[in-house]
Subunit: 359 residues, 4 copies
């Protein structure tokens, strides 16, 4: 199994939902970076359970502890290990589900693949693993600060409630003002209402996150397999519940003609080469061209519902299962910081890889 | 730069559009596989230029030559190198474009990244590179034959012409019966007409490819970063002109409720564990569950058009550019074998990785 | 920086000598392995400071804590994280050495490379890092038990005191009977005396460790770059203070003629293919042939001595430095379990890689 | 199987001794490097068969062909593929050996590992594979020219004939003046005589190569697993017939005391930090310190001898075997450029990795 992501700026995550805790080792962070642990904690706070009324009420403060790699406030070039102890791990009894396969969960595939599984809260396949990514992504964000990169993600759809504005029209200061992380007061309220309603039914709902990145240097990404958007796509699709990724014109672009879709170059007042339109989503031939990068990611409805469902157990016998308590009715609000973290990890890695483009 | 794909079953591609040729090294193919070079050639024939009236008329027979790794018809476990000499490389004069940036091509980003570029036909960023992938993918397909895997891709949309059937309703024997590779005679004809019309305008158009894979073992893919769909997504997004990827319910799934979306387990007549629905697209928790895998990939309109466009040259001066001759008006028909090849490479790699799941 | 070792059975180590502790993530251990934490602890006990009168008296119990990857006593296929908290970290004042470069240490090269360094006890470059390796190696040993592999290392030279027997002549039960880990009572006593004498002078001394591995399957190792002995060599040379590696006939073999050196094949009573002699050290063409693997590793005298030495500080000014207290006068006795651990890690990795040799 | 070496500056080799030819893909060479193919050819000429009376008389001109990655004489950042067609491949009949295991060759281990093997001339396990490395190493040397690095290897021992001078005392201009590549006219003559005598007996003999590297920057190598000397050691031990590696004081250093062995720092007239002695061999804590790097590598006698030997065939039956014709009586003279090539590859990789040490 591989639990690592990145080539130069690389993270390895470990830990289970209901074990002692979860952690991440960031290997490849250059020396001399000021490590602001308050910032790392604040990123985790954006992801943590219990942050609002519409997310899981699991009690986890997700306090991050620095284990290694920092000396007098600065990265030393050695591996930075971060640890988040589980706090709410023992309070819930999963034994009823011990040998049942929750529908559309990883229970069955894990069991078939490995021959055994830690059934408590999904074990390693729990979305709790993403706290490690958010912590690692926070270090990547700190690294990217020197390049003045701005990464911004927000909820643009929940169920059929769609934010019709594109990313250039939104007021990003509104994102963190509401629990769904949608930068429009009215649409956010509709989304929140839908999530509450769905939860009341013991059900769940999906959504879409839109992300954009500004002030990106020209030249990130590689031309063949490791195209910038291919790595971003993999990063996003590796998040729990993610079902789709499109960048720039995306699926809608297939109906356009080349003469409409092509982004015409021009020189701006600073003599920088820019494009009039940006159907390319800031990436041409797999390499950033300095325009805004933007992409959308689809998240399915959470598989754990509070309704009774038919299923099988490990012996292959028919049985029923019903979710309990503290699960997210919609993954999207908490997935926003995860998407940002994975974006930051991809970009940090490519900033380092870019250093070897020329002799 | 990295030009390799895969962890165990790994390919490395090399070569440029207008250099001596292009090649691929397949490292990690187990010993004892019968290497049918006629099959490899037949896969390349499905991708090659000039195969029909609606693709580029560039004259390349794409004859593949086996350089190493096979002894008495079988793989030896050593690297299999394949070589495809360029034949039509010198017949066209690219000098007019030598210092101009073709809009929405990799010209500018390459130049900015590396400080120089082989401008002839896009050099390394040419779609010609995908012939190496198709050759490598053909070896992967041969490897997968022992598992009885069936990979099938086809054109499901060109511009606004959409094949409304889902993959279970199609007659796959029709796919290779028409130049657009759409398994519906009437829709295929409409697509072909659109492509001809677009080409007459000196323009290009995008499209969508749908892929499904049958008879997949349970247990392919890894639970965290290297989820099966994440690797498939990266593989697809690394293809030229690919702008989006979705699997299973994809973007449409976001509007569903968990109670609708969950795939309920049951046991079939052979005592195999199956699911009634398959919104999961055959993948749960990043791991194949034995149901059909299916996904869709979006391809933008080709950037090279036969109309005059404004652009800049390497000196940053304004100029115009106009494509010449032999380019694809729509990438999708020839992308079908590319999509299959990348799918095969991902699956072959995971079949090998799976051998180490258990002690 | 890379802090990982292995391709499939892979460890990543982190932590500093005087930070909170040190750890290791073992990623790629197959599921279903019984994890005996008492065994892991016992291996650490063989490496720990203070174990005898002739090693450093630093007070570290090196208690290992299991953080993840094990469920009901068995590996789950997910990353196994182990943590060893530092206990004696704060008791010593390193501030005097804060800006001085200890001769033949990593102080200067670290500082030059990274621009800063954690000077406390060598930080990441401390031999304390090897506890992580011993912990990871213990998991590898548990994995190898199913193959009945026997790895044995011992001290064969300290300074000029040489154990003249070859590995076949020794009584391995004697190795752990004396503090130098030499399987000969008299020679061990001489070695111990030399170490005591050297320490009394405030000085240090080097030595040699001989290792042999029995019951190895045929077919471990790969034929080109990743030859079994090349990976073993890298593994050993990555240990602190290791200056040389030779396997089989080694440096002495250069004076032999091919007709003497060649190992002639025969079939034994079980119809197994064996060789009469074993100058190959159990490895031919980079691949194990089923004979005993054996090799020797040279360790230099520890750089920290209790005598006053001239040196420079970070400002490049001349100064003097004198080691204090609790350092090993000879690294070899405690390096024995490190050598075994690295050997186990290499073999476990190749056992997994071997699963993909054939279709 | 892995046929790649290096992390950033990475080569992948392919091809067999008696197939169509052998090749190498260099992936990761930065753009903008002037590629002097005459230099690449001259390096291959130093390795090629038939270059003198004391090496194999196989007729191979080893003409290198550039397949990709260079445009107008400069590297483009894309993979550089080089190809060396086999010329003498079909002239010899290996069928007599087809099912016999040559003693101390890779024949048996290959067959056991892969279940089949290309027996012609050793197939992939042939030393012919090293021509790919020398070609790749030549590109690495071109890359290192910008840093003014000087890599020099020479024969310091053949059988019992030992060059007693250390590397600082030799006249490097003499190395290429004699067929054994020993920088001492008289000792070279003795070595040559020994090789001729050994060959007359139908036998072979081993030897030692000494290598030194000058003008190395401070900071190459990484502190834990990828220590500079560990990668050099792996690189050397991956060469055919290499049995041992030691750097700096090496095995002799074990008898020294720390007070003798430590290299005391001082500042030279240019205010550079240097050491008075250099027992460290230019590497401290795994990282270059700017002093000369030097190391020794042991090569066993070639396994193919012209005398009749007992052996087994693939059926496990007893038989005899006798080498024919054109083999090296001593591998060392031709191994000198191989050692230099592998050294260059390791250093080029670390020069690129070093770019990411600091933010």
């Amino acid at each position: 199994m591989s639990n690592s992501f990145g080539k130069i700026f690389k993270i390895t995550t470990f830990g289970e939902s209901h074990g002692k805790g979860i952690g991440v080792v960031i290997d490849g962070c250059p020396a001399g970076l000021t490590i602001d642990m308050d910032f790392v904690q604040s990123e985790l706070d954006r992801r943590r359970p219990g942050q609002s009324a519409i997310v899981t009420q699991r009690k986890e403060t997700d306090n991050v502890e620095l284990l290694s790699g920092v000396w007098q406030g600065q990265s030393t070039g050695t591996p930075i290990a971060l640890w988040i102890a589980n706090q709410d791990a023992k309070s819930q009894d999963y034994s009823e589900f011990a040998d049942k396969f929750r529908p559309s969960h990883a229970d069955y595939t894990y069991f078939a693949k490995y021959g055994l599984r830690d059934y408590r809260g999904g074990g390693r396949s729990s979305a709790r693993e993403t706290a490690s990514r958010v912590a690692g992504g926070a270090i990547a964000k700190l690294f990217l600060q020197q390049y003045n990169i701005k990464i911004c993600a927000y909820t643009s759809q929940v169920g059929n409630i769609i934010l019709e504005k594109n990313y250039k029209e939104i007021d990003i200061s509104l994102i963190e003002q509401n629990p769904v992380r949608c930068p429009d007061v009215l649409v956010a309220q509709e989304m929140e209402n839908l999530i509450r309603e769905v939860r009341k039914d013991g059900d769940t709902i999906g959504g879409v996150i839109t992300t954009f990145v500004q002030n990106v240097d020209v030249g990130l990404g590689e031309p063949v397999f490791d195209r910038l958007h291919a790595e971003l796509g993999k990063a996003m699709l590796s998040l729990p519940a993610c079902k789709g990724f499109e960048y720039g014109s995306g699926f809608a672009g297939v109906s356009m003609r080349g003469s409409q879709h092509n982004d015409i170059f021009y020189k701006n007042e600073n003599n920088d080469i820019k494009t009039h339109s940006n159907h390319s989503g800031g990436i041409q031939g797999g390499i950033s061209n300095g325009e805004d990068i933007y992409f959308r990611t689809a998240f399915k409805p959470v598989a754990t519902i509070m309704q009774k469902q038919n299923t099988l157990n490990e012996q292959g016998e028919e049985t029923t299962i019903q979710g309990k308590g503290r699960h997210d009715p919609c993954v999207v609000p908490r997935a926003v910081p995860m998407v940002e973290a994975m974006t930051a990890l991809v970009l940090a890695d490519f900033y380092l890889r870019k250093r070897n483009d020329k002799i």
